[in-house]
């Protein structure tokens, strides 16, 4: 058994690389026929991701990790990959999402034909998927850094696909700088390990020659949090995300938001639970939890104020990363108190949400991409009534919205519920402070959840319901089949993940077991595999999404039946909506801005909104307005108070230093002279 599994894994590794390689290079061979390039590139990507799924599953169930390495003749560098459960799980995520997204892309990139080189686009797309896969599989710090940077670079180029727009260039630049700074911190993390291990191989990181001193462990913790956090988009390092993700072509946004930021989660888990052996003080976990909670809340709050559909989704990525980190943070806290089965639970919740978010966020971005494809605008205020123009897209978007709002029996509900439970189970922690802090985290999670619901009610309601608000929306048409199928696949993944937790939990348990040293699957999955019981020994709580699903499926017809029984056959007449006597115009509809107005007022201490109202009265009477102009903005707090000052100081400094290069030869001679004197004196 083990033997042929390892064979499958080697086969998978080889084929994934080869197929993505084909996808990268072959399209350039057909530079004449853009359509053919499209097929080759994304076909190769789909094939590769199927192999990737196989690889991931095989890796999950392989009895022991499989490593494969190619020596390089550069010092300290080995191209080594390792397929262990953790890596396989993330490879699975990448490949599942990659499959559906590639399917979608086949239709979507038609929009770019004869505007862009489809070959370049497709090649970069494959390179992106490949680099992400390698980041996950890399088993050598140096190799990891190389593919990590390549991943960032490739994604940068995908972001600036439409680089004739200045805002796109800005977004790309901002992204590139942020991710590069983040990489610097990751380098520091690895250097800390290197000093004790004497090599960059992860194996050496796991078992260093001498144990790391406490200070250096903390340094590694902090550097990893900042480094990977930048990529993951935790507050306050999230600022680049709402710019970069929307700027990219939608199928790429789906991958960036759904998958790429997960590589950062992978990095964190790898460093904390694997390299640092899962032994750390409680406050590490608390910091992660706190950052997660803040990210979740602020993420959703800023999302509510967004009316650019893709930026809204990007902010929701910040929120969901926060939720994931809350799970992981809770797990870390439990781990530091030695409650390993709860630690496993927290980690499991986090990872479950990771795969869920990959799917529904991917789905939502694909939906946004479809609306963009159909209407050529990202502004929700110009949508409306799309549900009649593009029913399929609307339906799939609705599935995604329900899932991300964690409404039962969706997959988002399962993972958020598990997170809730792992937070509530804090009463087993000996320390009172933590006992209180975790429920507070749960409170913030609850608030986040409901705000997310409000946000997606807005997103779906304003975009797809009521009357078209612009010519764009009126002329919209349903998107090509390739795109619909792509969304359908994503939606299917969401539903399965929601209704079959008893299948998913044991899978993730295979990941957490080696990290926490305890397996909890058979304890959690009870009631003949129908219910999840996080803490069976406590009998704390349980859910069963299949039963809930069944219940709803039974009760909806029941309601129908009741109505028929009491009221008889349905007699229905249609008439246009009552508009206070005058007939209704789209301009009279509630806008997204109006919808979120109360929330903006309630949380104004966070939004710091600025409102500008200009009224122009009629000459005849100053009681009747001729024109009114209303403008409202929310303050970008983090840019204003965190990033702009840094930039300003740097440029000011640089400007001041111009005098150094003032052009005077005597000055230059003096530099040399003084350096000489100083060094001579130093020698003496």
């Amino acid at each position: 058994m083990s033997l042929d599994l390892s064979w499958i894994i080697h086969w998978g590794l080889f084929n994934v690389v080869v197929l993505y390689g084909i996808g990268i290079f072959l399209p350039f061979a057909f530079y004449r026929n853009a359509h053919f390039q499209n097929l080759v590139a994304h076909g190769a990507a789909m094939a590769a991701s199927i192999v990737g799924v196989v690889l991931g599953l095989a890796g999950l169930w392989a009895p022991e990790p499989v490593t494969f390495s190619v020596l390089s003749n550069l010092p300290l560098l080995t191209f080594q990959v390792r397929v262990d459960p953790l890596a396989s799980f993330f490879v699975l995520i990448i490949s599942l999402a990659g499959f559906a997204v590639s399917q979608f892309a086949m239709g979507y990139v038609r929009e770019f034909e004869n505007r862009r080189s489809i070959g370049a686009l497709g090649g970069l797309y494959n390179a992106f998927l490949l680099s992400m896969t390698l980041v996950i599989l890399a088993d050598d710090g140096f190799f990891f850094l190389i593919v990590w940077e390549i991943m960032s670079l490739v994604s940068y180029f995908l972001v600036v696909t439409e680089h004739e727009k200045p805002e796109t260039r800005y977004a790309g630049f901002f992204y590139l700088i942020m991710t590069h700074v983040g990489t610097a911190f990751i380098i520091v993390t690895y250097l800390v390990f290197y000093q004790q291990a004497g090599s960059f191989s992860f194996e050496a990181f796991r078992h260093p020659a001498a144990p790391l001193p406490e200070g250096f462990r903390t340094l590694a913790f902090a550097a990893a949090l900042i480094g990977f956090g930048t990529k993951a988009g935790i507050v306050p390092l999230h600022v680049w995300l709402p710019y970069a993700h929307p700027a990219a072509p939608s199928h790429v946004s789906a991958l960036m938001s759904g998958v790429m930021i997960k590589t950062a989660i992978y990095g964190l888990v790898r460093v904390y639970f694997d390299f640092l052996g899962g032994t750390f003080p409680w406050w590490w976990g608390f910091i992660v939890l706190a950052i997660g909670a803040v990210s979740a809340l602020l993420g959703v709050m800023y999302a509510l104020m967004e009316h650019d559909l893709k930026s809204l989704l990007a902010y929701h990525s910040v929120e969901n990363i926060g939720i994931i980190l809350m799970g992981i943070g809770a797990g870390m806290i439990f781990q530091s108190y030695g409650l390993s089965n709860l630690a496993a639970l927290g980690l499991l919740a986090g990872l479950y949400h990771t795969i869920n978010h990959a799917m529904f966020k991917g789905l939502l971005f694909l939906g946004a991409g479809s609306t963009l494809y159909a209407t050529h605008t990202r502004n929700m205020e110009e949508y409306g009534g799309l549900i009649r123009k593009m029913p399929w897209t609307a339906f799939f978007f609705l599935v995604g919205a329900v899932s991300i709002s964690a409404l039962p029996p969706s997959n988002g509900f399962v993972s958020e519920w598990l997170t809730f439970q792992s937070l509530f189970l804090s009463f087993q922690i000996p320390d009172v402070l933590m006992k209180i802090m975790l429920p507070i985290g749960a409170a913030m999670l609850a608030l986040t959840g409901v705000l997310a619901l409000a946000c997606f009610a807005k997103a779906f309601g304003i975009s797809f319901l009521a009357m078209p608000r612009s010519a764009h929306a009126r002329e919209a048409q349903e998107v090509p089949w390739a795109m619909r199928i792509g969304m359908a696949e994503m939606a299917l993944f969401c539903v399965v993940l929601g209704l079959a937790p008893m299948g998913v939990v044991p899978m993730i348990d295979r990941v957490t077991a080696p990290l926490t040293g305890i397996t909890i699957a058979e304890k959690i999955v009870s009631e003949g595999g129908f219910a999840l019981v996080p803490a069976p020994d406590k009998g704390f709580a349980s859910i069963s999404t299949p039963v809930l699903g069944l219940l709803l499926i039974v009760l909806v017809p029941a309601a129908l039946l009741t109505a028929v029984v009491i009221g008889g056959r349905l007699r229905k007449r249609f008439y246009k909506t009552w508009g206070c006597g005058i007939n209704l115009k789209p301009r009279m509809e509630y806008t997204a801005t109006g919808f979120t107005q109360p929330i903006k007022q309630v949380f104004d201490m966070i939004y710091r909104p600025t409102v500008k109202l200009e009224t122009e009265m009629l000459e005849e009477s100053r009681y009747f307005a001729k024109r009114m102009r209303f403008e409202t903005h929310i303050e970008p707090v983090f840019q204003k108070y965190l990033y702009d000052p840094v930039v300003r100081v740097l440029s000011l400094l640089a400007d001041r230093l111009r005098v150094v290069q003032a052009g005077s030869l005597h000055l230059y001679l003096t530099y040399i002279f003084l350096t000489l004197i100083i060094l001579l004196l130093w020698v003496r």
Binding site: A662, G663, S664, L669, L681, R684
Partner: protein, 221 residues
Amino acid sequence: MVIHPDIGSQLVNFCSALLLLTCFAIIAQRRLSACVDLFALQSVFLAVTAALVAFLTGAHHIYIAAALTVVIKAMILPRILKAVIERLNVTRELVLNINIPSSLLVCGALVILAFYITQPIISLGFLLTKDSLAIALAIVLIGFFTMIARKKAVTQVIGFLVIENGLFLGATAAAYGMPLIVELGVFFDVLVAGLIIGIYTHRLQDTFDSVDTTKLTALKE
């Protein structure tokens, strides 16, 4: 005939001291042509020193070096410089970056510095030319300082040549001369350098109507 080493070293040191004095003179002098003459004089002293060393040590190739010094540094280069000065009709440095008294003070300090720095490795030196290394370093530094303190291209060239003299003194007096081929190469380079600088000063004059190098500040941030 044989001269007692002490006396020999006395002589060498005396000559090198003269070299140093001429440096001070150059610093103190405003008139360009006078500066050039002083430089020529310094070169002569240098040649004498070299010849002395050659005579006292019997390292005969140094004679050639001495001869070259006289020919190139005491005759050819001063001629070129004089010609330049004639052509540009700049006779004197009116404005200085650093005025003369303070320049002299600085140079004094530099001499002390030079002795202070070389002090630990003097012991290596031969009895004959104990202090020459320090003096050579002093001359180099003073030449360097001249280039900073003066504005006109010509004076800067002179400063550069003074540095060269310091180097030569260091090479011959302190280390009994480099192998001949090296010396020749060095001289060749100095010559070419002088020529190129000459060309440049001409072009500067043609383009900017001035050799005041402080005016060259078009290129900056």
